[in-house]
């Protein structure tokens, strides 16, 4: 094998943020989170940032599906809503202890997504996107019409208990506390997803996304890894839903609406769905554009649409993709 063995031997590192760099970046991000109350000037700004973090978590969930499964979902709001409704309804009705309600609100959507994933993960392309849309809208219709559950389309307010997991729960509705909590959770989620991408199961999932047939020929059953990615994505969306519901003390069918999924997808695309951090960056960018545009223009969704068109045409890998390209070019 001499000819083949002595080809160009330049070694290229493919993953720039590897090993120690990942841990250091995560530690710095967590430290920034702790410092946020001193960095963000007003309660309103803190509240906006907290809500941007909810969007970032949901967008990360959508982006993770694209990154690891190669699948586009228009129904991720189903798990966002399921998380929010589970915690809201269970706490309001005192059916279980509040801590158990939080755990159920995260585990239930994860399990539902895993089972759904076993069924719909094998379906590709437009049919898959339409199925996720249908599933999301089915949940929306149920909570919209089922008034006995949570007052139907009016939505339902609920009061948080005094304590959750031994800590004062009122902090969850304090912008400063929620901002730090949501930021910290987002950083830990991104860190965990980066580790997942490097793990063996993450590599198998990437292999399945790249070439499912090839992965099967290598001896892998492709259904379980795909369903697992669905479950992880739903887990993240459910956390976002729980945080949002607890912060607002209110749940409404709009949490399940396809437009929530659609915006999360737009955020992921604008940020760069091929990067773990891309959707979160896209969410923060879009959240503030939405907020700013909303002050001046009644038809702010049109502005978001124009931004999406511009980003898609000029930055096909999103904001983070553009930043990565500029970083690579810096020394030339």
């Amino acid at each position: 094998m001499s000819t083949i063995a002595h080809g160009a031997a330049a070694t290229v590192r493919r993953k720039p943020l590897a090993g120690a760099a990942l841990f250091v970046t995560t530690a710095v991000a967590l430290a920034v989170g702790v410092a946020l109350p001193w960095l963000v000037p007003t309660k309103i700004a803190m509240s906006l940032l907290a809500q941007a973090m909810f969007d970032a978590l949901l967008a990360t969930s959508v982006g993770f599906l694209i990154l690891q499964n190669g699948r586009v979902s228009f129904g991720q709001a189903a798990f966002f809503g399921l998380g929010g409704y589970s915690v809201g309804v269970l706490i309001a009705r005192h059916w279980v202890a509040p801590e158990v309600a939080v755990l159920i609100a995260i585990i239930l959507p994860t399990l539902v997504a895993f089972l759904l994933g076993l069924v719909i993960a094998r379906i590709t392309g437009v049919a898959h996107a339409m199925l996720t849309l249908a599933v999301g809208q089915a949940f929306y219709e149920v909570v919209f019409r089922w008034r006995e559950l949570a007052k139907g389309d009016d939505g339902m307010s609920f009061n948080l208990p005094r304590h959750l997991f031994g800590l004062s729960a009122s902090g969850l509705q304090d912008p400063a506390v929620m901002m730090v909590l949501a930021w910290t959770i987002l950083v830990l989620v991104l860190f965990a997803l980066a580790l997942f991408a490097r793990s063996r199961i993450g590599q198998i999932a990437a292999a399945i996304r790249d070439n499912e047939e090839r992965a099967r020929f290598l001896g892998y059953s492709t259904m379980l890894p795909r369903a697992l990615v669905y479950a992880i994505a739903a887990f993240i969306a459910a956390i976002a839903g729980v945080l949002s519901a607890c912060y607002n003390g209110y749940i409404a069918p709009q949490m399940f609406h396809w437009s929530v999924s659609g915006f999360a997808l737009i955020m992921a695309i604008i940020g760069g769905a091929k990067f773990i951090i891309g959707p979160a960056i896209g969410a923060v960018v879009l959240f503030y554009i939405k907020d700013y545009a909303g002050q001046f223009a009644e038809y702010w969704p049109a502005i978001v649409g124009i931004i999406l068109v511009v980003v898609t045409l000029t930055m096909p890998r999103g904001v983070v993709g553009l930043a990565a390209t500029l970083w690579k070019m810096r020394g030339r």
Partner: protein
Amino acid sequence: MALLAFNDVHALYGRARILNGVTFAVDRGERVALVGRNGVGKTTVVNTLCGMTRIAQGQIAVNGRVMKDLRGYIAAQNGIAVVMQGRGILPSLTVEENLLLGTATRRPGPWSLDKVQALFPILRERRSSPGLALSGGQQQMLAIGRALMANPDLLILDEPSEGLAPVIVDELAALLVKLGEDGIGILLIEQNISLIHRVAQRFYVLSKGAVAESGSLHDVSRDELKRHIAI
């Protein structure tokens, strides 16, 4: 007992019948070529083994056991590794990650990452490179190395010489003969007469979805084999 046996296999793509009663066998350590013109169903034989086409009639047996479940990963778990046409390098994984994916079946055997990298030193040197950053010949080595990581009893290679320079095809031939001598069965699906002649001991000619000719490579000249393929 044959390592792999197709017995009168008829296979369909949708309603189109592609294989019309294919019968052949490969024994342990044997090097067999499956030859034929484009479109006669050579790749369909592999796809059928991996469950991508529906069997209308006939049986496939591995180690004498009839395969009733032909989902893609079952063949691999039964000791059959496939190097597909086009090599199937996974683009988002590094060379080493591509190799490690070959251990899905966790079958015991002599092949390990170290041994594969010793056989192909370039795969060690470029272990952190994206798989697709390798040259065509190196990618073929990666595909074969990944297949060996599964410690297969039978290695199926679909058009492995496609796109390779003649000097690399020579090296590929020597490697496949060596693997056969080490006890791995080789099923070589090829049109390159030179490679077939240097690697295979027996051949089957596929024509119109069925085996039209078969025999020993020792008994046929290259020109005769060419004529067989032109059936």
